[in-house]
C-alpha cells in the first residue's frame, strides 16, 4: 500500500517533469503532444479545485459565526454570500456572462472601486513604514533611501519638470545599480529554485514525501 500511497505519486511527479525536460533538450513531435497534453491537464485540475476554496471559506466563516453569534456577525456572514450570489446570478443569467453589460457594470462600479482602493491603502501603509525605516543609519540604509527617493521622484512629473536631470538619473538607477543588484538576486534565486527542482524530480523533496 505504501507504494500506492507514497511511491506512485512521486513516480508520476518525476515522470511528468522528466518528459517535459526531455522534450526541451530533444524536441520531438510526440514530445510536443505530451507537453501540450500535460499542461492542459494541470490547467483543468486547477479549475476543478475552485470549489474546494468555497468549502474552506464557508466552514471558517461558519465557525466565526458560531463563536460570537451576534447580529452583526450574522450580517457579515450574509454579506459574503449575498455578494457572491448576486455576482453569480448576474454572471449566469445575462447573455455574455462575465462580459455582459450588467456584469461589467457591477465590476466597474462596485468591485473596481473596492479592490482598487485596497491597493490605494497600501500607499499609506508603505508611507508609514517608510517614515519609520527610511532613515540614514548606515551606507546600506543610505543606498536604500537614495535608490527609492530618486526613482520615486522621477515618476512624479513635477520633479523632472523642476529638474530635468532627474529623468536620466532615475533611468540610470533603474538600468545600472538596480540591474546589478537585481541580477545577482535573480541568479541566486534561480539556482536555489533549480536545486529544489532537481531534488523534487529525484523524489527526495521532503515536502512531497511526508504528507500522510
Amino acid at each position: 500500500m505504501s507504494f500506492v500511497k507514497r511511491d506512485l505519486p512521486l513516480i508520476i511527479l518525476s515522470a511528468c517533469g522528466l518528459m517535459l525536460l526531455l522534450n526541451f533538450f530533444v524536441p520531438t513531435d510526440i514530445g510536443n503532444v505530451v507537453k501540450a497534453e500535460l499542461t492542459t491537464w494541470t490547467v483543468i485540475i486547477g479549475c476543478i479545485g475552485t470549489f474546494l476554496g468555497i468549502y474552506y471559506m464557508t466552514i471558517s466563516q461558519w465557525r466565526l459565526l458560531q463563536q460570537t453569534k451576534t447580529t452583526i456577525q450574522y450580517f457579515y456572514f450574509a454579506t459574503i454570500f449575498g455578494f457572491m450570489f448576486l455576482w453569480l446570478a448576474v454572471g449566469l443569467y445575462f447573455p455574455g456572462g462575465v462580459t455582459s453589460p450588467q456584469y461589467l457594470w457591477l465590476q466597474n462600479n462596485l468591485y473596481r472601486n473596492q479592490s482598487g482602493m485596497v491597493y490605494g491603502v497600501m500607499f499609506f501603509t508603505l508611507s508609514s513604514s517608510a517614515y519609520r525605516t527610511f532613515t540614514i543609519r548606515s551606507i546600506e540604509s543610505f543606498a536604500l533611501l537614495v535608490g527609492g527617493v530618486i526613482y520615486m521622484l522621477r515618476q512624479i512629473p513635477i520633479f523632472p519638470a523642476i529638474w530635468p536631470g532627474l529623468l536620466p538619473l532615475g533611468e540610470w538607477i533603474l538600468l545600472v545599480p538596480n540591474v546589478g543588484g537585481g541580477r545577482g538576486a535573480v541568479i541566486c534565486a534561480a539556482l536555489a529554485a533549480l536545486v529544489v527542482g532537481i531534488r523534487t524530480l529525484s523524489g527526495r523533496e521532503a515536502t512531497m514525501m511526508e504528507v500522510q
Binding site: M57, S129, A192
Partner: protein, 263 residues
C-alpha cells in the same frame, strides 16, 4: 528528425553540474557524513521566540504563504514548496508550545490539500494531531485584494502574536505585514520574489532576504537531504562565477559572450 535543441548546450551543462552535485551531496547526507556548515539565520531563530511570545500574550500565530503562494504548476513551484516546509515547521512549533495557529491559505484552491497536509504533518510530528483545526485554515478567494482584506480582518478580530509570512508574495504583503505590526504583532518572513523583498526588509522584525528563504526552509526541515541543497547551491554559484570569468576572458580575446553562451 530527432536532434538536440540548438543553443541549449550550456543549459544542459548547468543542469548536469547541478544534478551531479545533487547526487554527490545527497548521497553524502544519506550516509550521515558531515555537510558544509551554514551561517545562522536570525529569522529562523526568532520564529520560536515569536511563537512563545504569542502564547504569553494569548494571541494566535498567523502563517501565510502569500495570496498567490500556492502555485504548483508555475515556475515559482520551488517557492511554494519552501512555503509548505515553513508551514510544517510553524505547525510543529505551535504544537510544541501549545499556540493557536491560523493559516491564511493562498488563492490557488488546488494547493489546499498540500497546505493542509503539511500543517497536519507538523502537528503529527509533535504527537498532537488533535490540535489541527480545519476552520483555522482560512481561504479568501483568488485575488490579492480579497486576501489582504480577509487577513487584516482576522488580525483585527483575533489579534496577532506573531505573523510568519514565507512564500510567494505580490502586492499583498505591504498591507498584511504593516497591519500585523499595527495590531501589535511581530513580523518574521521573506519571499524569493526580489521585487517584493523590500516590503519584508522594511516591515519585518526579522527578514529572510531573497534566497535565504530556501536556506531557512532547509534549516527548519532538520532533514539532511534538504540541508545538502545549500551546499549544492554554493557549487552553482561557483559555476556562475566561472562562467563570468570565462566570458570575460574570451571577450578580451575577441570572442563575444553571445557566441560563448549562444550554443
Amino acid at each position: 528528425m530527432i536532434a538536440f535543441r540548438t543553443g541549449a548546450v550550456w543549459d544542459l551543462v548547468l543542469l548536469l553540474v547541478l544534478s551531479a552535485t545533487s547526487y554527490y551531496y545527497m548521497n553524502k547526507a544519506l550516509k550521515g557524513e558531515e555537510l558544509p556548515k551554514i551561517r545562522t539565520l536570525a529569522a529562523i531563530e526568532a520564529m520560536e521566540e515569536g511563537v512563545g511570545r504569542s502564547v504569553e500574550a494569548d494571541k494566535p500565530v498567523h502563517f501565510a504563504m502569500g495570496a498567490s503562494g500556492g502555485q504548483l504548476y508555475s515556475t515559482l513551484v520551488s517557492m511554494t514548496l519552501t512555503g509548505l516546509a515553513m508551514a510544517n515547521y510553524v505547525a510543529r512549533l505551535c504544537a510544541k508550545l501549545n499556540a493557536r495557529l491560523i493559516v491564511h491559505m493562498p488563492g490557488q484552491a488546488e494547493s489546499i490539500p498540500a497546505v493542509e497536509g503539511q500543517v497536519r504533518e507538523g502537528y503529527l510530528r509533535e504527537g498532537k494531531p488533535e490540535m489541527f483545526i480545519r476552520e483555522d485554515m482560512r481561504y479568501y478567494g483568488r485575488q490579492a485584494s480579497s486576501w489582504t482584506q480577509g487577513v487584516t480582518s482576522s488580525y483585527a478580530e483575533e489579534g496577532v502574536g506573531v505573523n510568519i509570512s514565507v512564500g510567494i508574495f505580490y502586492s499583498d504583503c505591504p498591507i498584511s505585514l504593516e497591519l500585523a505590526k499595527f495590531h501589535g504583532g511581530m513580523n518574521i518572513g521573506g519571499t524569493g520574489r526580489w521585487i517584493m523583498a523590500y516590503a519584508f526588509a522594511m516591515m519585518c522584525d526579522y527578514v529572510l532576504l531573497g534566497e535565504e528563504i530556501y536556506a531557512g526552509a532547509a534549516q527548519v526541515s532538520e532533514n539532511p537531504l534538504m540541508l545538502s541543497g545549500i551546499a549544492i547551491e554554493e557549487i552553482g554559484k561557483a559555476f556562475v562565477y566561472g562562467m563570468i570569468a570565462l566570458g570575460l576572458i574570451l571577450s578580451v580575446l575577441g570572442v563575444s559572450a553571445a557566441t560563448t553562451f549562444g550554443f
